[in-house]
Amino acid sequence: MIRKLSIALAAAALFAAPAAAQNIKIGFSLAKTGLFAQAVPSQLNAYELWREQVNARGGLDVAGKKRMVEFVQYDDQSNPGNAVKIYEKLITDDKVELLLAPWGTPHHFAVAPVLEKYKFPMVGNTAASVQLREIKPGNIWFVTSAIPDKMAAELVAMAKANGYKTAGIVANVLPLAKEIKASLVPALQKAGIAVKVSEEYPPDIKDMTAILTKVKAAAPEALFVLSYPGDSVLYAKQAKEIGIAAPFQFVAVGPTMDFFGKVVGPSANGLVTMGHWSPAKADWKRAKPFYDAYVKKFNEKPDYLDTVVSYMSLEILEQAVAKAGTDKQKLRQAIASMTFDTINGPVKFQGVQNAITPTAFLQIQGSELQLVWPKAIATSPFKAKTGW
């Protein structure tokens, strides 16, 4: 009896095996622990939502054949060196058929040579640096339009268009902030906007009183706070306390994240931040359904920056795979040549960069983030900040 049962189970397993093989293995590593761990849920949530949606539709369309998505994921402990080893393992050992991006610029830079070595195409997402352009095109692409030098130029254009003649800069010393500042200072000078105060601070700053006291004394009309999520909250809380009254206050990274509104509250109204997406943009047909699905699944708003670019990278991959399958050469050609329909409108790559999505800025207006710049895609006009 037992023998018969064993044979039956073995036979069942044999029949079940081909069904399991139909799954498509997609690999990635994320900084689930360590220095960058706070930033990663925004990206991982996008991955999980996408997998759920694709599998609910019957699987990923791989050149006409539906296959259920299965993730192979690791924690790189916020160490780009670990990401390099993991992506090699994903390709050579786990034999994944597709790759998703790790979190952050340093990790993208670290895995780019691995992709090049194995000629394995991957659509990047949460990376923003002028140095992206120096990466050899062919196996990696970047969906973001928030490139530091472009952002600096657009910020100055926005300040000038609103008639501001004086500026202040408060900048973290981490790479993104440094890159924006490096382009912002000459752009302000060129536009005739006087920089009245410029301060830098370390990433572990716990109190900004001394800096903001100087800013208050200088009273610039446009204040550029080149910050990261933790220090963005610190800025908003202490600027309110000290009474920074600049009508144009740009806070770089943080205000697009759901927790920012919960910590800072209505005081954040009027802050401008980096981001090129809004669910209120009616002609981006996929935007609002994505927003609604995200809120339903996670009971919070998506990060308008990292979650959005991560989801865009998945939409691009999905559409490219539907056309080209998983053959690396065909997939590479598809990503490089197709125009993709995403939650952020159409996307097409030139070299490694997204050539269509404009560099844009969001403003907190009431409880919503509205696109306010450039005017061509604005969902609401810019409104000067009138207080905290």
Binding site: G34, A37, Q38, T209, T213, P229, K240, K262
Partner: protein, 296 residues
């Protein structure tokens, strides 16, 4: 110069210093009584912050009440660790140096486990809430209500612990254990009981600091490390095991950071803090107020 004389900097220095003092207080009690190097101290701050956050978010409980729950939970955690990890270690009669090294490794493990359990349970997403965020102005100084509350609670608790150590018989027993462990046992101090109490008190005060911090900044499972570092700097500045010295050093660090940055630049903050730290280690290794008898 006007900025230097403004009340704004003084307010910032006092609030920062009071939170440093409270955070370091618990580390000092644990080290002083048992020579345990608690590198998970910042994670207790994190636990306290999460307790206050959830109490506020789910039960609409004021963080000023939630901090009592945070303290109780942290004290229970301390008790569990004492019986599960440290009791045998402390009873083993090992040399103080070996005890320090062992405890450092054990607490490092505790830190990793606590951080990752919290990340698994609550995700690494930063969280926060608004409480008492009305700005009050006096002359040229302004302060939000939550920072006033954090300062007041920190000062009251530090003062309360100092009074307890000076006037209460159990407090005197803790002091005796800090100063002469062997002699304390000889004169009838119940070492086991006092150790447990000091560990619970140390853990609870860190959790209270976390509850206060949660009112003013965002929290995450990985927020603890900077608090561990700050607490170690403070207790070494004040003299290891010297509770009064630690509180004074916390306030001094707050003043040093705030006015040092105002006089120079934020970029020099770490240089200033660690420069003074190294200077104190070279010139007064027993700490600002530490007596030689306390340093083992």
């Amino acid at each position: 110069m006007d900025a230097l004389l403004s009340g704004q900097l003084l307010v910032a220095a006092l609030v920062t210093g009071a939170l440093y003092a409270l955070t370091a207080l618990g580390l000092n009690l644990v080290y002083g009584t048992m020579r345990l190097l608690n590198v998970a101290h910042g994670d207790l701050v994190m636990i306290g912050a999460y307790v206050a956050f959830w109490a506020f978010t789910l039960l609409a409980l004021s963080p000023l009440l939630g901090l009592a729950a945070a303290a109780a939970l942290a004290a229970l955690f301390g008790l569990a660790l004492y019986h599960g990890l440290f009791r045998r270690l402390l009873a083993g009669g090992k040399a103080a140096q070996r005890l320090e090294a062992n405890s450092l490794l054990l607490f490092f493990g505790v830190s990793v486990i606590v951080q990752n359990l919290m990340a698994l349970q609550f995700t690494a997403t930063p969280r926060g809430y608004q409480y008492l965020d009305t700005v009050y102005r006096w002359g040229n100084a302004a302060i939000t209500g939550n920072r006033v509350a954090a300062f007041a609670v920190a000062v009251i608790l530090c003062g309360g612990v100092l009074a307890f150590l000076r006037f209460h018989v159990t407090g005197l027993a803790i002091k005796a254990l800090i100063q002469r462990r062997d002699a304390a046992a000889v004169v009838g101090v119940n070492v086991e009981r006092v150790q447990q109490l000091a560990l619970c008190l140390g853990f609870a005060s860190a959790a209270v600091a976390g509850a206060l911090v949660s009112m003013t900044e965002q929290i995450s499972p990985f927020m603890g490390f900077p608090f561990t570092i700050a607490a170690f700097v403070v207790i070494i500045l004040g003299g290891l095991g010297n509770v009064t010295g630690g509180i004074a050093a916390g306030l001094l660090l707050g003043v040093l950071e705030t006015y040092g940055v105002a006089l120079t630049s934020s970029a020099y903050r770490s240089i200033l803090v660690y420069g003074v730290f190294v200077l104190i280690l070279l010139l007064r290794p027993q700490g600002l107020l530490g007596g030689r008898r306390i340093v083992r």
